[in-house]
């Protein structure tokens, strides 16, 4: 059979044509997506990568809610200039406990994957509530409401952690039990700052 005969068959049989189109469009997914999804060693936490604690986890959800990833990536690419500017480049295993990952693809502001520890909690807090108080020419919007709302307003932290445990995050019963206490009294901005301060290259134990 040659391609011309095949084409004739396909264009006269819509069922076959639909199947053919689906088959051809699936090839990319079969090669690129399927192996990544089904292969455990591609989603194994890298050395030193830990699941987020309840406060950081709450901050992460706020990061998503406020759309931080629209302007900030969390992906230091393996390029000399990026490594010199931000620190060690991001590795796949670091995202094992990110559901969904927040790599992002657009930088209106700087990359944040290594921001933890660069500035103090006090600065981060002021900057989130009103960026112009510390960076006069900043174009980042202010998020003043983060300073008013309680971090665990909807009381969902335990069910969140249980859901993540079902997906493989190793939270213990004791950790889940203690989660609401960790959030007690915190405002949203505190949780978000804790999350930002946790964004750093995983501490890898070096053998002397």
């Amino acid at each position: 059979m040659n391609a011309v005969e095949l084409h004739r068959k396909l264009e006269r049989n819509s069922g076959l044509l639909i199947f053919g189109i689906l088959f051809v469009s699936a090839i990319g997914g079969l090669v690129q997506v399927l192996p990544s999804v089904l292969q455990d060693d591609l989603v194994t936490p890298g050395p030193g990568t830990q699941p987020y604690g309840p406060v950081e986890l709450t901050g992460r959800d706020l990061y998503i809610r406020e759309g931080c990833s629209t302007c900030h990536s969390q992906q230091v690419r393996p390029l000399l200039a990026e490594v010199r500017r931000y620190g060690p480049y991001s590795k796949a295993g670091e995202s094992a406990y990110d559901r969904p990952f927040l790599w992002g693809s657009k930088r209106t502001g700087p990359d944040l994957h290594r921001i933890g520890g660069k500035y103090t909690d006090v600065w981060q807090r002021m900057h989130l509530l009103d960026p112009r108080t510390v960076v006069p020419d900043s174009i980042m919007p202010g998020y003043p409401w983060l300073g008013e709302r309680a971090a665990d307003a909807d009381g969902s932290i335990q069910s969140k952690m249980r859901a993540l445990r079902r997906l493989g995050h190793p939270y213990t019963d004791a950790e889940i039990e203690a989660a609401p206490a960790a959030l007690a009294g915190l405002k949203e901005v505190d949780a978000l700052v804790a999350y930002l301060q946790a964004l750093r290259a995983p501490a890898v134990e070096t053998t002397p």
Binding site: A3, P35, L38, D40, L80, V134
Partner: protein, 293 residues
């Protein structure tokens, strides 16, 4: 789901990729080179009087264009990673590439960066280009707290342009502050001493600033509770990060209310460590830039 071995997925990717390449070749080859093309026994419909299907075959250079991209794909897959676990003949990898670049950077610029890191501050300060670099390093790392003019801001982040240095203004002390960061803690005394004592000590601190502390009624309390860190004469102790109380540079504000708050409720200040973000040459340049006249 039971995990299939990596070798299976490697083969899976390789087989589908190769099959796709062969499939594309078969498709374009048979379209261009099948004898007769569309079968003759079934005549093509006619449009616009004389337009028939298959009358004008697609130009041959299209075939060669697609064929060339197939050849390039095959060469690429031989040289670079792509066919499952096969790493390619060039043994190229993303991690290897960045390591090579970092090494080359180190080889090319390492010696000159070492020179900068070990240079006399005066030598660096005379070089306008190096001072411009230093300012860029400052803008990128320090300015959002200490302000772009280094004048400090928000009554929280100290000025780097005045004579007051909480942790010492010598080159080695500034370098230590940048490299390792600083953590300053002033305890609050209101709970222990009560409000009247705090009022008196606030007044004493203001008097220290005016050089009128001698014989002040709160002097004994100052000596008992404050002098250990801030010194008997109030001149501070850079080893502890205890600020000079006799000058007019008060980080948290000059007003009696601000000073009262510091004494009553305490303060804590933090300078993050930049030793892992900046290399020796960058830190040396910053010190030179901060100390330039």
């Amino acid at each position: 789901m039971a995990e299939l071995p990596s070798a299976f997925w490697s083969g899976w990717v390789a087989v589908i990729t190769v099959a796709s390449l062969i499939g594309v070749f078969w498709l374009i080859y048979s379209i261009y080179f099948t004898k007769g093309g569309r079968d003759a026994e079934e005549p093509s419909p006619v449009w616009d009087g004389n337009l028939r299907e298959g009358e004008h075959p697609a130009p041959l250079w299209w075939f060669w264009l697609i064929f060339a991209s197939l050849v390039i794909s095959v060469i690429y897959l031989m040289l670079y990673p792509g066919l499952g676990a096969f790493g390619g003949a060039l043994n190229w990898s993303q991690g290897g590439e960045i390591d090579r670049r970092l090494n080359r950077y180190q080889t090319e610029f390492g010696p000159v960066r070492r020179l900068v890191a070990e240079a006399q501050l005066a030598t660096l300060q005379e070089d306008a280009k190096l001072m411009a670099s230093a300012q860029r390093i400052y803008d990128r790392n320090c300015a959002v707290c200490h302000a772009y003019d280094a004048g400090g801001q928000a009554n929280l982040f100290p000025s780097l342009t005045d004579a007051a240095w909480q942790w010492g203004g010598q080159a080695a002390q500034i370098e230590h502050s940048i490299r390792h960061g600083r953590l300053a803690v002033m305890v609050g005394w209101e709970a222990a001493l009560g409000e009247p004592a705090i009022d008196a000590l606030t007044d004493y601190t203001l008097a220290l600033g005016n050089g009128a502390a001698a014989g002040h009624p709160a002097e004994a309390q100052y000596m008992q509770f404050c002098a250990a860190c801030h010194g008997a004469d109030g001149s501070g102790n850079p080893l502890l990060g205890a600020p000079d109380l006799t000058d007019d540079a008060s980080l948290y504000g000059q007003s009696p209310a601000a000073i009262r708050h510091s004494i009553g409720q305490g303060r804590s200040g933090e300078m993050p460590a930049f030793g892992e973000r900046l290399d020796d040459a960058q830190i040396r340049l910053l010190v030179a830039w901060l100390q330039r006249s």
